[in-house]
């Protein structure tokens, strides 16, 4: 088991003064599901957005530290951010289908990269929709607008959209927060399959989801990493009192 991502002393402060991350150091194992959990404001989403440099779009006042992915510091202004975002894909909390057909949604990223061959695009559509466990439901209506699908289906299409680019790392920020239990189950089952080939970082919307899916878990509180450990042991026997208090629901 290799460390895919090495986060060293990451600190970040937004321009409105809110200190979002404080000296976080964390290693993410590849081919596993690492869960970042904790109460709101803990810095989990911020950390995700650092990994694919989405924070470039927001007003960040100060940041420090390094994030090494495959030996390269991705926070370095000189790296190819476009290539990074193809390598590190993200699924957001609310499904955001682009205003186009299902098929066009999936191939959007590939077309951006310059892929024009019809055969390659069609193959990518089928492959990624199968990986996202939704191929059978939409294969006969690929040209329908994506907005016509249900919430759970839309979210899986968003997952397929990311998978079409064949990333190495997949970030999911509360991906099932608006979904019903059945759709949630489908997404979680897909993650179990996907982790064999990809590195997955998940911010769950409940501690229960964290417990169900985590191979490794990291507890965040107000921008600091409090505890990190293997999923099985952290949820049954947390070492830190604050972790235990949160898991057992004494605060939240």
């Amino acid at each position: 088991m290799v460390d895919k991502i090495i986060i060293e002393n990451l600190s970040l402060q937004y321009s409105d003064g809110v200190e979002s991350l404080r000296d976080v150091s964390l290693n993410i194992r590849e081919h596993a599901v690492t869960v970042l959990f904790g109460p709101a404001g803990g810095g989990k989403s911020t950390l995700l957005r650092c990994l694919n440099r989405l924070n470039d779009l927001t007003e960040v006042k100060a940041s420090a530290g390094r994030i090494m992915i495959d030996g390269e510091n991705v926070l370095d202004p000189k790296i190819d951010v476009i290539a990074l975002r193809r390598k590190v894909g993200m699924v957001f909390a609310r499904p955001v289908p682009l205003p186009m057909s299902i098929r066009e949604n999936i191939i959007y990223g590939l077309e951006l990269a310059g892929e024009k061959r019809r055969s390659k695009l069609d193959e990518a559509v089928e492959r990624s929709l199968k990986l996202a466990a939704i191929w059978d439901e939409v294969k006969d209506r690929l040209n329908d607008p994506a907005i016509a699908l249900s919430g759970g289906q839309q979210q899986r299409v968003c997952l397929a959209r990311v998978l079409a680019l064949q990333p190495e790392i997949i970030l999911l920020d509360e991906p099932t927060s608006g979904l019903d239990p059945i759709s949630t189950g489908k997404v979680e089952a897909a993650l179990v399959e996907l982790k064999k080939e990809y590195t997955i970082i998940l911010v769950p919307h409940s501690v229960q989801q964290a417990g169900r899916t985590a191979d490794y878990a990291a507890f965040f509180l107000q921008g600091e990493l409090i505890e990190y450990g293997e999923g099985k042991s952290l949820f049954t026997a947390p070492k830190n009192k604050r972790t235990e208090d949160y898991i057992t629901g004494r605060f939240g």
């Binding site: 894909g89 957001f92 955001v96 990223g109 951006l112 959209r161």
Partner: protein
């Protein structure tokens, strides 16, 4: 109980009063259009629409004025549309809240408020005299474009801003550059709204007289304009002159000219409205 009867009576009276006010505001609009239609229709004929004027404008057709207005509208579009949309894209997608951006916005508000005759003066000073374009379609179009710019910029910016932010975030996260995001998603979705604003802006330009008075309009030209450096006849200017400065001008011809101008303008209005409502129903967000 007396109190509540009073309040409801007040409401009744108030509502009736306001409703009458609204009717009073709207009725003249309808009346104007219908009246011009009735009075002007007798003048409309193939000859009127495709022929040249004779007898000092008192007979014949108004083709050169129609063509002139068409040229001016196209000329205005050429200069104001690309510039206006680009400026709107800048304000919506690139600019952050800095003093410079706020100054740009104040500048746009000011451009919108400048009286049309002052634009005419400016056009005279800059395009006709200083740049030596002379009284020409070019000078008039450029003057009209600066006047139309604020309308296009503000409606286009509003249209761009209404596109949900989530699309941009998703697009960037899939490896798009900012311009790719704008071209493939934002601009595409905002296009109907932008188009509506453009058409409404051009509609206003087509009906304006003061900016073209000293910059491009002529009353009588024997031929259609052959180059952008020629002066031209135009419907609004033509109507102005024949209704105030030509003695013994047949009323029928005046109303006919007014009707043609009205139809020109109202058609643009109709097209814009249709585009707007069709886009609303086809929206995928």
């Amino acid at each position: 109980m007396k109190l509540s009867i009073n309040r409801h009576l007040m409401q009744r009276l108030g509502f009736t009063g306001i409703t009458l006010m609204a009717i009073a505001t709207v009725t003249p609009i309808v009346a104007v259009v219908i009246y011009i239609l009735i009075q002007g229709l007798p003048a409309i004929s193939t000859e009127f629409l495709t022929g040249f004027p004779h007898d000092g404008m008192r007979a014949g057709g108004i083709l050169p004025a129609i063509i002139g207005t068409l040229y001016l509208t196209i000329g205005t579009a050429i200069f104001s549309v690309p510039l206006g949309i680009a400026a709107a894209i800048y304000l919506s997608e690139y600019a952050s809240d800095t003093p410079l951006t706020r100054t740009i916005r104040i500048a746009i508000i000011n451009l919108a408020g400048i009286p049309s005759v002052v634009y005419g003066l400016f056009g005279l000073g800059l395009f006709v005299i200083f740049l030596k374009f002379g009284t020409s379609i070019l000078a008039a179009s450029m003057t009209l474009s600066i006047m139309t710019l604020p309308v296009i910029i503000s409606t286009a910016e509003e249209s761009l801003r209404s596109v949900p932010q989530g699309f941009r975030t998703v697009s960037i996260s899939l490896g798009a550059t900012r311009w790719q995001t704008i071209r493939r998603i934002v601009l595409k979705e905002a296009l109907p709204g932008i188009l509506t604003g453009v058409i409404l802006g051009l509609e206003r330009a087509a009906g304006e007289t003061a900016p073209i008075l000293f910059t491009g309009a002529a009353f009588f030209l024997p031929r259609l304009p052959g180059s952008p450096f020629d002066a031209t006849m135009a419907l609004p200017y033509h109507l102005f002159v024949i209704s105030t400065q030509v003695p013994e001008m047949p009323i029928k011809i005046q109303y006919g000219t007014a009707l043609v101008l009205l139809v020109f303008v109202l058609t643009m209005n109709l097209i814009a409205t249709v585009i707007r409502s069709r886009a609303r129903s086809k929206r995928q967000w």
